[in-house]
Amino acid sequence: MKEYISIKNMNFSYTKEKFISDLNIDIPKSSSVGLIGPSGSGKTTIIKLILGLLSPQEGSIKINNQNYSHNDLGYMPQQYALYEELSVSENLEIFSNLNNISKKSEVEKRSHDLLNLIELSDKAKELVHNLSGGMKQRLSMAIAMINNPQILLLDEPTVGIDPVLRESFWKHFKKLNKNEITILITSHVMDDAMKCDKVIFFIEGTIVAYDTPVNLVKYTKTNNLGEAFVHIVNKGYKN
């Protein structure tokens, strides 16, 4: 598959010491790619580099072989980043308006569709600070999708979400992939990784493996992705 998001020779450091080292990633269009690694490995930093919230010291990021604007991206941060004093529908309306979706009927339609997806239709008028953590997480995801982005960057999207809803999220992600939306997900959860088209194992700012989940298990001769991860950390990866 042809690469869509292309990160080349990227180096980034917060201090004098390199944090992301000589990073090269090609992500195919309409795929779900999981960025899997322990806390502090640099997953969120990569998301922020793609978003343009951080500037790399070296290297480049291109989308479809072009420079891009962050308006093409949808972003769900690790913290909820919601207006707690506003209701669920007011949050969606504000973020719609800030993305230039001005027509009231359009705002209402998008909000309605997204609330159905995240199963919060009955909470539309509820203030966000009255919602549970999982509900806030779902609303945060809906806001990431409000501008119909071509690329979705989701930072730990399934934290605090029950297994049933996680399944429904993944069904929707696959539907988005069919509609040519590319998704990059960071996660600690191997269940999420198994559902991705490709998985990047990422440790201390370096990619240690990038392959399909099936290949990662097959070539490490392990039983599951969790074991494959441990194997690769200890012995490296060759396919």
């Binding site: 922020k48 978003l51 343009g52 919230l53 951080l54 500037s55 962050h70 308006n71 991206l73 972003y75 941060p77 913290q79 909820y80 980043a81 919601l82 207006y83 707690e84 004093e85 506003l86 007011e90 504000i94 973020f95 308006n97 800030l98 993305n99 230039n100 001005s102 203030l127 806001i143 501008n147």
Partner: protein
């Protein structure tokens, strides 16, 4: 652009409206302080007349600065600032929207302070009232943007509160409130020219005590506008830096 600006203003208003305790404090804090000041100076109407311009200019600045600075730092800490800056919103639109939203509250507080003071000094309402309205508008504009700018230097609400004496103490002491600027040592006199409250205080004093026309305070108003422009540019850079280098 208009939609985005009004969305931010609406956001500020909705947040404030839902926060009933803050709304109460917006009204009660100036009322309590002004009542206290009135009791202190009640027996000395001449003194109240003298301190009235200082009270109006300093408190208009202080309340607005606090309101904006703290709200903006909460916006940064919760991650919503980063998130809204990833929409189509531009830094200057955010600042205009914030100003519109907060200006209403700044106006409420400034109106309480000014009405209280004018009532206590038996100020007769005439054409100079327009001077006070313009001074309050420019002071609020200056203060909203100063609040945003200083909030970027603080990492939490506690640090933001520490900026209050740092930002206000030199202004209060050097604006000519206690000692006329021309009687200060030359160095302090020069420093006072770089402080916005000096101009807010001077123009308020000329308006209340000397009843001058707006033409006679146009220099002070222009400088206040220049300070506002500087703070707007500085806070735009701050917001852009959140966007590009966080």
């Amino acid at each position: 652009m208009i939609l985005r600006i009004f969305s931010i203003a609406k956001l500020v208003l909705l947040k404030m409206r839902r926060d009933k305790r803050s709304i109460g404090l917006v009204v009660i804090a100036p009322l309590v302080i002004m009542t206290l000041i009135t009791f202190i100076f009640n027996e000395k109407p001449g003194t109240l007349q003298r301190v009235a311009p200082a009270i109006i200019s300093v408190f208009t600045f202080l309340f607005t600065f606090l309101l904006t600075g703290i709200t903006f730092i909460r916006e940064r800490a919760s991650g919503t600032l980063e998130r809204i800056m990833l929409t189509k919103l531009k830094a200057h639109e955010l600042l205009i929207g914030y100003f519109l939203g907060f200006f209403i509250f700044a106006l409420i507080q400034a109106t309480i302070v000014t009405t209280f003071v004018l009532f206590m000094i038996d100020y007769s309402i005439d054409s100079t009232l327009i001077n006070l309205i313009v001074i309050i508008f420019l002071s609020a504009l200056c203060s909203v943007n100063a609040g945003i700018m200083f909030s970027s230097l603080a990492q939490n609400e506690f640090q933001m509160v520490q900026f209050i004496p740092l930002f206000f103490a030199p202004q209060i002491f050097l604006a000519g409130i206690f000692v006329p600027v021309q009687d200060m040592p030359r160095t302090l006199e020069i420093i006072s020219k770089f402080l916005p409250i000096s101009y807010a205080f001077n123009s308020t004093k000329l308006t209340i005590i000397n009843k001058v026309s707006i033409e006679e305070i146009i220099f002070d108003l222009t400088i206040l506008f220049v300070f506002s422009a500087i703070f707007i540019i500085a806070s735009s850079l701050v917001v852009n830096s959140q966007k590009n280098n966080k």
